[in-house]
């Protein structure tokens, strides 16, 4: 057991820090073109798709270097390394694993160059957590498939150019995991209609998508017909360590402590209230548990030991932290905590009141806490499925 980094890893961390110092001006000094320049520079560094194989334009980055890169970037509150979060997280890896040579050539460079943003067409009106029960239909008709059906709560759909779409090509199957087929579909294809949905925080991040007689060429199928579930499961398994999340949560905890130090409860400093102190300590413990769980799982990966679904452990911690930290902050601030950005008394420019309404983005997306509990009980503890 040792928590030291090798000289190579340390010099990589230094390289990332110097890059940030040179290329990331304070927020107020960032001009209109900042993001574009930033994306070009991190791309030139090979830090977009850092872990991807070199043949696809990645850097073959090791697990520890990835963790260092994520940690330093989120410590500096840097913009993301590439604009297509989903493209980088699972669409790209899915294409590299299951795609044809043409698909690899067509889609991978645009993800790395932040030219194309992807969204993920999984959930349907009647099938969210029960993902494999999807009904959106695709029928082979000569050189193309005809897609009819509906997706919903598709994050990023209002501004994405492409969607990775799960459909059902066979309805006569004994297992619902069979008969599913995955497609890569342009959002401007005729018959695709996007209707943004406003969430409770007032944002329009997700949408319903209607597919009416949409023609998808056979060459846009990802993997074989009926193999869609396998493609999806292996794509989702590409989610990496939670190191970046931990540094973000630590930064949020620091802000929360500052708020506590500047707050009063019944006229007395809030930082002297035992309940408040212990609540903040509980957050700190959970974040540390995420950090050391993450490092244990990272070590397992490096040693080549199989990971089952241990990342669900940290997902559950993150879910409770995302819900509880903002909630604690607005409760601490009383009526002022309720004010949104722009209010005279709004606390920290309304970031806590916004956060108290925004947690489902992280908590529900990618599998609800109860789904994570099912995963742990069934895949790790071996309990029978429902």
């Amino acid at each position: 057991m040792d928590f030291d980094y090798t000289p190579d890893e340390q010099s990589f961390r230094q390289e990332v820090r110097s890059f940030i110092a040179e290329n990331l001006p304070p927020k107020e000094q960032r001009g209109k073109n900042f993001l574009g320049t930033w994306l070009e520079k991190v791309r030139a560094k090979g830090w977009v798709g850092f872990a991807w194989p070199k043949e696809f334009g990645g850097s073959d980055g090791g697990l520890i270097e990835q963790a260092i890169l994520k940690e330093e970037m989120s410590l500096a509150k840097a913009p993301p390394l590439g604009t297509s979060m989903m493209g980088l997280a699972w669409v790209g890896p899915g294409i590299m694993e299951y795609g044809t040579e043409e698909q690899k050539k067509k889609f991978i460079p645009d993800i790395l160059d932040s030219k194309v943003t992807w969204c993920t067409g999984y959930s349907e009106p009647n099938h969210g957590s029960d993902l494999a029960a999807i009904q959106c239909k695709a029928e082979l008709q000569g050189d193309h498939y005809l897609v009819n059906g509906q997706k919903i709560w598709t994050t990023g759909a209002p501004w994405s150019q492409w969607i990775i779409l799960l459909t059902r090509t066979d309805f006569n199957v004994t297992s619902k995991h069979d008969g599913i087929t995955c497609f890569l579909v342009p959002m401007d294809a005729p018959g695709v209609e996007v209707r943004p949905i406003q969430n409770m925080a007032g944002d329009k991040h997700f949408a319903e998508i209607f597919f009416t007689d949409v023609q998808v060429p056979v060459e846009n199928r990802l993997g074989a017909e009926g193999e869609g579930w396998k493609v999806t499961v292996s794509a989702l398994a590409n989610e990496r360590s939670s190191i970046g999340e931990v540094t973000q949560l630590q930064a949020k905890l620091d802000d929360l402590k500052t708020l506590v130090k500047n707050s009063k409860r019944q006229g007395k400093p809030a930082s002297e209230d035992p309940k408040i102190r212990r609540t903040v300590a509980k957050f700190e413990i959970k974040i540390s548990a995420m950090k050391y769980n993450g490092l244990r799982y990272l070590t397992k990966q490096i040693k080549g030991e199989p990971l089952t679904s241990e990342t669900s452990v940290n997902k559950l911690h993150r879910a409770s932290l995302e819900i509880e930290m903002d909630d604690f902050a607005i409760e601490l601030s009383g009526q002022a905590g309720l004010q949104l950005r722009g209010g005279d008394e709004a606390v920290d420019n309304g970031s806590w009141s916004k956060g108290a309404l925004n947690w489902p983005n992280v908590v529900i997306g990618g599998g609800t806490p109860n789904i994570q509990r099912n995963i742990i009980a069934e895949r790790i503890l071996g309990q029978p499925k429902d």
Partner: protein, 367 residues
């Protein structure tokens, strides 16, 4: 960066688990707990021969010269079977000797502790639920040729098994550890919720000791020993938590109600998942704290408070859920689940409950 155990540590874990299964299965644990001494000398000698009592004692004093991260491998694995062996107390006592004694005293104490010949325990605080130098109320007063002890140590773990005791007192020049033989003091067993982990009071009133048997101890050394106690207890909570989760998880797969294994119901499987999440989390925090004892002492206080602060309440809940998910069988004296619930109650206040540790995290974190 490597947050995993070495091949040697994994082998040590296997060795302890095998030993517990073969030499000290649960029926033997129950027998030993009911005996007058609550101690099995033959079993103790075996652990000494396996080297477990000298793990953290330097080689020049007859030990193996390893670290606390190696020691907790033994504590965790032995606690899976609720091993009634005072290994943690012995390790804490040797850590106290290393911290507070002269080289000469180390040479006279440590080899006998590594060989198991001396069974030594450590008694720190005299007030329930108070971790502070002021919670040491027993004292030592100077006499012509040494010291006379005053007061009582009400909460000393493994005092019945020990033949020597290191007891914190207020000395003439501040805190100190009084080294006394069992035959000098009056040890009275105190029944607790958990009879696999015996506690006793030690009456030291009027006991005279020689000048060299009072080891000076700074406030920082007391805090360090308390933190080591927290690491040892949390490691045992990891082991005991692992065992009760495995027992409950197995039962949920086999117990059929309403035509299905109860583990198929989300009311059951989600509790099991939450038990797993908590156990995994305080396990990670515990390993880090154990590593910090030697390799990052400046991080130790916070690391221990994270681990024990999480484990105190989490393991208590795991004990309750372990028994509760079993239904009436879990409540049955002949069934082992209830022994782990008792251990969770025992561990909760040891070396600081969750409130103590969370308060300390808040302070160390700048609040």
């Amino acid at each position: 960066m490597n947050f995993g155990f070495t091949e040697e540590q994994n082998l040590l874990k296997d060795q302890v688990q095998r030993f517990m299964k073969e030499a000290c299965p649960m029926n033997r644990v129950r027998e030993i707990s009911k005996s007058d001494s609550t101690f099995d000398q033959a079993l103790w000698q075996q652990t000494a021969e396996l080297g477990w009592l000298g793990l953290t004692i330097p080689e020049n004093f007859g030990g193996l010269g390893l670290k606390w991260i190696d020691l907790i491998v033994v504590l965790e694995a032995a606690a899976e079977g609720l091993g009634p062996l005072p290994i943690a107390s012995q390790a804490l006592a040797s850590t106290a000797i290393l911290a507070c004694a002269s080289e000469e005293q180390k040479a006279s104490w440590l080899p006998a502790m590594a060989s198991g010949e001396a069974v030594v325990t450590l008694g720190l605080y005299d007030e329930a639920n108070w971790i502070d130098p002021a919670a040491v109320t027993a004292s030592a007063k100077s006499t012509d040729d040494g010291f006379v002890l005053q007061g009582k140590k009400p909460f000393v773990n493994d005092a019945l098994a020990a033949n020597y005791l290191l007891l914190a007192v207020q000395g003439p020049n501040g805190l100190a550890l009084a080294a006394v033989g069992k035959d000098q003091v009056t040890v009275t067993a105190q029944p607790t919720i958990d009879n696999t982990n015996p506690m006793a009071s030690v009456d030291i009133d009027g006991v005279e000791i020689s000048a060299s048997d009072l080891l000076p101890m700074s406030d920082e050394q007391l805090a360090f020993l308390t933190d080591c106690g927290g690491v040892a207890t949390t490691a045992e909570m990891v082991g005991a938590g692992t065992a009760i989760l495995a027992m409950t998880n197995g039962y949920a797969k086999e117990r059929i109600q309403f035509g299905k294994p109860i583990g198929q119901y989300q009311g059951v499987k989600h509790r099991l998942a939450d038990m797993f999440v908590d156990l995994e989390s305080y396990r990670s925090l515990c390993y880090f704290a154990a590593w910090a004892v030697y390799d990052s002492p400046e991080e130790l206080a916070k690391a221990v408070s994270m681990a024990k602060g999480y484990a105190s309440d989490a393991f208590a809940q795991i004990g309750i859920d372990g028994v509760g998910l079993h239904g009436a069988i879990g409540f049955t004296a002949d069934y082992d689940a209830q022994l782990y619930l008792k251990r969770s109650k025992w561990a909760r206040p040891m070396y600081g409950d969750s409130d103590y540790h969370m308060d300390r995290i808040a302070t160390l974190g700048g609040l």
